[in-house]
Subunit: 203 residues, 2 copies
Amino acid sequence: MTEQKSTNVTWHEHLVSKDERFKLNGHKGAVLWFTGLSACGKSTIANAVDYKLYQAGKHTYVLDGDNIRMGLNKNVDFSPEGRAENIRRIGEVAKLFAHAGNLTLTAFISPYKADRDKVREILGPGEFIEIYVNASLELCEQRDPKGLYKKARANNLPNFTGISAPYEAPEKPELVLDSNSKGIEELSNEVIAYLEKNGYLKA
Amino acid sequence: MTEQKSTNVTWHEHLVSKDERFKLNGHKGAVLWFTGLSACGKSTIANAVDYKLYQAGKHTYVLDGDNIRMGLNKNVDFSPEGRAENIRRIGEVAKLFAHAGNLTLTAFISPYKADRDKVREILGPGEFIEIYVNASLELCEQRDPKGLYKKARANNLPNFTGISAPYEAPEKPELVLDSNSKGIEELSNEVIAYLEKNGYLKA
């Protein structure tokens, strides 16, 4: 027993710091927060950026509807309160991923400015990169790959962003992607150029 | 507009798979789930393992009270229902971290077998490594680094594991660490030996 205690006392706790994790990875961790209407291209662009960064040996991860709404946030609804809690949890998880050293890409409509600003607040300076994927409602409704807009119009769905619930566009995003006039290849390269220019791709 | 559509159509979605992320890191991702009484040594051992793995160039992350209870789970209480939701969320986040390629260490009392088993279920075969940090209640109460047991006894705190709430020890954990008789150095090496032996430290 005495031996055990003394072992505990002499062990010095070494916590691996954020910067040490960045150093191991050879680049910084940060949150790339894509926001925009349903079908604006958020998820496709985020995954394109993710793939390119992965191919360049960067440590990344995408948080999106597929892995969040089915798991962590399966008990959250689409009311304004539910959306706030949805975004809050995603923000907290994205923060952990960024501090673990990952370039973390999130692809959620995240329609409310206040919810996005709260995520910005819990992150350090430069750790939150807000990326507004700008596509007109007309274009998104025309694309409608999952038929969601059609359904929303036909059944008068409540809380559908752009139709029966507001989308508050970012006022000062770090990056605006013009999804009305440009394709995935060009837009994903714009994101990578931003990371490069702002020093994220080195430790 | 026509050009935009065609660009979207020709872009092939590349999702980076779990195995591709393991390959980049040079080792597998998994969840090392430490469970045991308060003050049994979970967090200290987890951080010692984390530090050693980090020094060996492995990609790791620790989820513990410090980064979870203050953030993601700040709206969860200590009732049995609250504890279940606490562990459920941690399990979902640990899964994401493991699938992102990290050796993910969690250090929570997680007293209920059913809650831990649910985490095991959401992970794939071999991805959940349950590590029982076995220390007697007597020893834990004697250590009591934060004075929690003292407080629990003095104020008749409800829901305090080991005193006023049960701790259900794992029946078939992957690993048992004898924190009654061994120190941090030895126990952390036992965890690393387990990972080595079972192929986790290569992709």
